[in-house]
Amino acid sequence: MSLFDAKDKSRYATFSRRTLMVTGGMTAVFATLAGRLYQLQILEGDQFMTRAEENRVSQRLVAPLRGRILDRFAQELANNRRNYRVLLIPEQASDGIDAALDTIGQIILITPTQRERIKRDIAQNKKFVPVTVAENLTWEEFARVNLHLPYLSGIQPDVGETRAYPFNDEMSHILGYVASVSPDDKKDDQDPLLDLPGFRIGKRGIEKQFDAEIRGTAGASRVEVNVYGRVIRELGHEPGTPGSDIYLTIDRDVQRFTAERMAGESAACVVMDVTNGDVLALCSTPGFDPNLFNVGINHGQWNALTSDDHTPLMNKALSGAYPPGSTFKPAMAMAAVEAGLDDLQVVCTGSITLGNNVFHCWKRGGHGHVDLHRGIQQSCDVFFYEVAKRLGIDKMEDAAHKLGLGERTGIEIPGERSGVIPGRAWKEQHYGVPWQQGETLVTGIGQGYVLVTPLQLCTLAARIASGNQVSPRITRVVGQSVQPRPQIKALPFSDKAILAVQSGMNAVCNEPGGTAYAWRIPDAGFEMAGKTGTAQVRRITKEERATGVKSNQSLPWKLRDHALFIAFAPVQQPRYACVCMIEHGAVGAHPQVQIARDVLLFAQQRNSAQLPTAYPVNAAGIDGVANRRPA
C-alpha cells in the first residue's frame, strides 16, 4: 500500500474547497463587525458623544451671595463675612482619621461632641468628600492652621461666605435670622439651592419676608466627574446672580439707642415718621443673637431662649397683643368729638353705677368736674365710661378701626397679629351671647376684650399727630426698585377732633396735673405730647377693692400691670410718633414714659427723619405727605 492514495488527494481538495467557504464566512463576519462600527461611530456617533458628555459633566450649584440688609443711611445691618473653615478629606489623611483629628486638635479646639459629628459625617460620605472639621474660626486660628499645614495631612483650609449680624440682639426682631433648610421649607419652594448642603434661608423677620429677593439665583459650576462622582476638574464657572440688597427705613443709631435704653425690660418700643409711616426704630426686648441660628444653635442655648418668661424670641412690637388701657382713650376721644360730645361735662366721684355694677375710676377720690381736655390729661376713667355709654359700642368699634387698631398694619415683617376690637358681631361669633352694655364701658377705657399690638398703638399716635391715615412701613428699596406704598389719605375725622385730642395729649405732658408731666421734654421745640396707660392683667375682686388695691410692687412679676405710653413730637409740627410698652412694668416712675421721652428726644436732636437718606435710587417721589394742620 502506497504511502498516499487518491483518498488523500480527494480530502485535500475537499479541505481547500471548504476552507474557502469558511474564509468567506469569516469575511462576512468581519464585514458585519465593520458595519456595526460604522453604525455606532459614524452614523450614531454624535448621539453617543452627547451621552458620553452627560456621563462626564456634572452641574454643581453654586450658592449666590446673599443680599445685604441696610438702614436708611446705607449702614449694613446684615452682611456676609468670610467664614474661615477647616475641612478634612478622609482619603488624604495618610495616617488615618484619628491621627489627623488629634493633630488638628492641638491647633484648634475640637470638643468630643464635634469629633463624634466629624466621624459620623465621614462615615456617611465617600472618602473623597471634604468634611467640615471646624468653621467660623478667627483669623488667628485660621492663620495658625495654615502655618502648620505642611504637617496636617488631609486637612484643607477653606474660606466661604456666611451671614453675619454685626449688631447681635439689637436688630434681631427686625432682621430675623437665617438657618438650615428644613423639610417643610421645601414643600412650596422648588429652588434647587435648597438642596445644597449648608445652604441657609431666612426664617424670621426681613430675612424671611424678602427671602426670595435676598437669596439671589444659583450659579453653576460645570465639573468633570468620574463614575463614582469624584470631581476631576472644573470645566466652567458661572457665579449666579447675587441677592438684592434691602434698604430699610430704620435709622441704625435710633434703633441702637432704643435697644440700649430698653435693656433689661421685657418691652417693645417703636418710633415712626408720621409723615410717611417710615419706621425708624422697632425694638422688642429681650432680643436674641441671630448669629447663633446661622452657626448652629445648641440645645442649651435653645432651651434658654424658649424657657425665658421674658420671651426673647417673640417680637412684642407686632406679635404681642395687649390690652391698651388708657392709651385707648385718645381714640375714644376722637370718636366723642366726632359724635358731638366735645362739650361733654362729667362729675367724677370715683365710680359710676350701671345697673347692679359699679365701675371704678383709677383715682379713688374722683376727679370732680371733668371735660374732654381734662379727661385725657388726667386719664379720668369715669369720663370715658360716660363717653362710651353715649357713643355705644358700634361707633367705638368703627373709630378704633379707622385709627388703625384691631387690624394688621401691613408692616413687612412676618408674624404680625391683628389684635381685637370687640363689637356685637365679634361677641356673637366668639361667645355666642349678645353684647352687654357694661362691656361697652370697660371697652371705653381700653380694658375687657380689647387687645392691640404696640405697633398699632404707634400707628394710632401717628394718625392723631398727622391727621393722615399713615401706616407703618419698614422697607424702602429692594434691589433697585422703590417699594410701592398705598396712597396716604386724610384721616376720616374732623379737624376739630384732631385738634381737641392733640391738645389733650399735649396737656398730659406739658400742663401741670398731666399724668406724664413729671417726665416731659423741657427742651424748647422738642416737646412731646402723649398718653399714658396701665393695663390690668388680673381681676380686682370686691374684697381687695375694699381693703385697698394691692400695689404692683407687692405682686409677682407675672401679675403686675403692663405699662404703656404713646407719644408724638414735636408738639408744634409733629414728625415722630412713638410707643413704649413694658410687660408687667407698671411700677415706679413710669419707666415706659421715660424711655419714650429719651428716644423721642434722641431722634429729634439727631434729626433722624430729615437727614438725607442714602437709598441707591432717586429718593424723589418716595416721601410722605404734609401733616394736616388743624385750623
Binding site: L3, F4, K7, R11, T19, L37, I42, Q47, M49
Partner: protein, 385 residues
C-alpha cells in the same frame, strides 16, 4: 532537487534553518497588534505602565519565546503529543470541577504555585490538536461514518460540557465552534450538517429552559433589552456602546477617552478594552485593528493551505479559527451584537494565561508553517504513533 527542499520534505531541517524559515512577517504583525494592546493598557491606566502595560509586555516577551520554541519543534512531535495533551487537559477540567477553588461563583482555574492555570484555555489548544490528530487518519468517506464520527463528537462535547458547567459559556461556545468547523473542513457530509443545524435551531428553547444558569439567562435578556437593567448588567453594555460610539470618526485622542479615564467602562483593561480603542482612536483606529486581525487570520489560512499534511492543515485552521472566534465573540459583545460573555480580546486584553496560550497557539501555527513540506501518511501517526 536541492538538499534543503529534500530535508524539508523529510523533516530533517536543522534548528538554525527552521529559525530562518519562521514567517517573521507574521511575527511582526503579532508584535504590532500586541503593541496596540500595550498602548491601550497604558491608556486605561491613565497614562501609566503600571499596573497593566508593563506586566503585559513581560508576558508578551515570554509568549514570544513560547512561540519560537513551539515553532521549531517537529510537527510530528506535536502530533504524537496530541492525545496525551488532550487527556491531561481533560483531567484538569475534571479536576477544577471536583476540587478547584471556588471564586466568583465559578470554578475556572487551578493554582499551581504562583500560576493560575485555566484548564479551559489549555483545552482550546488540546482539542484542536487531538481533533486534527484523529481526523488526520480519516478519509472523506470515513468522516461521515457514524461510528467514526461518534469519537470526535464525544471529544468535542465532553470538555465543552464541563466548561459550560464551570460555567464559562464563552469558552464552551468556542470549543464547540472549533470542533464543528474542523469536522466540516474534514469533509463531513452535508447529509449530516443540514439536519444537525435544523435540530440545533429547534434545541435552543430547550437549552434555554434546562441548561443555562440564571445569570446567563439574565445576560441574554439584558442583551435583548438593555433598558430592563439600566444600572446592572445592561449598564455595562450601554456604557460600552457609549464609549465606542462617542469615539466618532477619529476618536478623542490617546489617553483622552472620558468613558475609560473616568471609569465609566467596566473591566476596561480586560474584556472591554476594545471600547477604549474605539473611544480614543475612533472608527479609523478600531477598523485598523480589525484589519490587522483579519490579516493575521489570512496568514493562518495561507499556512493551512500550504501545508502538505492533513494534520498540519487541520491544526493550522483550528488554531486560526480559535483566534477568530475569540475576536468575534469579544468585539461582537462590546458592540452590543451578542450578550455579554467573559471572553478577552486576544493579544490586547490584560491577562497572563490568555496571552501565553494565544502565543503558544501561534507557535503551533508557526510549526505547521516551518514543517509545511513534511508529509505524514494517513495511517502513520507521528514519531511515537
Amino acid at each position: 532537487m536541492n538538499t534543503r527542499a529534500y530535508a524539508a520534505g523529510r523533516g530533517t531541517l536543522s534548528t538554525r534553518e527552521k529559525l530562518l524559515d519562521i514567517n517573521w512577517g507574521l511575527v511582526l504583525l503579532i508584535a504590532v497588534v500586541a503593541s496596540i494592546g500595550f498602548a491601550m493598557l497604558y491608556s486605561v491606566a491613565g497614562g501609566s505602565f503600571s499596573p497593566w502595560a508593563g506586566k503585559q509586555m513581560v508576558r508578551f516577551a515570554i509568549g514570544l519565546a513560547f512561540l519560537i520554541l513551539a515553532a521549531v519543534v517537529d510537527l510530528r512531535v506535536w502530533m504524537s503529543l496530541a492525545y496525551p495533551a488532550y487527556a491531561l487537559a481533560f483531567l484538569l477540567l475534571v479536576g477544577v470541577e471536583v476540587a478547584g477553588s471556588a471564586g466568583l461563583g465559578a470554578q475556572r482555574w487551578i493554582e499551581l504555585g504562583p500560576i493560575e492555570l485555566q484548564p479551559s484555555e489549555l483545552m482550546k489548544i488540546s482539542l484542536v490538536l487531538a481533533l486534527a490528530r484523529y481526523l488526520h487518519g480519516l478519509s472523506v468517506e470515513d468522516v461521515s461514518k457514524p461510528l467514526k464520527l461518534a469519537i470526535p463528537l464525544a471529544m468535542i462535547v465532553a470538555p465543552a460540557a464541563l466548561v459550560l458547567h464551570q460555567p464559562n459559556l464563552g469558552t464552551a461556545s468556542i470549543l464547540m465552534a472549533d470542533g464543528c468547523v474542523l469536522l466540516f473542513l474534514s469533509g463531513l457530509s452535508w447529509w449530516w450538517i443540514a439536519p444537525t443545524v435544523t435540530a440545533i435551531a429547534a434545541a435552543v428553547p430547550i437549552g434555554w429552559e434546562f441548561f443555562l444558569h440564571d445569570y446567563q439567562k439574565a445576560r441574554v435578556m439584558t442583551f435583548l433589552n438593555p433598558s430592563t437593567d439600566a444600572l446592572g448588567a445592561g449598564w455595562n453594555i450601554s456604557q460600552a456602546e457609549i464609549a465606542l460610539g462617542s469615539g466618532g470618526v477619529a476618536g478623542k485622542g490617546f489617553v483622552q477617552g472620558t468613558q475609560s479615564q473616568l471609569n465609566f467602562l467596566p473591566e476596561k483593561e480586560t474584556d472591554f478594552i476594545f471600547t477604549t480603542l474605539g473611544e480614543e482612536f475612533g472608527f479609523v483606529g478600531s477598523l485598523a485593528l480589525l484589519l490587522l486581525f483579519a490579516l493575521i487570520i489570512g496568514y493562518g489560512i495561507r499556512i493551512a493551505m500550504a501545508s502538505r499534511s492533513q494534520f498540519g492543515r487541520l491544526l493550522a485552521m483550528g488554531l486560526t479559527l480559535n483566534f477568530f472566534f475569540y475576536i468575534l465573540i469579544n468585539t461582537a459583545m462590546v458592540m452590543g451584537l451578542i450578550p455579554v460573555v467573559g471572553i478577552p480580546l486576544p493579544l490586547i486584553s490584560y491577562g497572563g494565561t490568555a496571552m501565553l496560550t494565544v502565543m503558544f497557539g501561534f507557535g503551533l501555527l508557526m510549526s505547521v508553517h516551518v514543517h509545511r513540506q513534511v508529509e505524514i501518511p494517513r495511517h502513520a501517526a507521528g514519531l511515537f504513533g
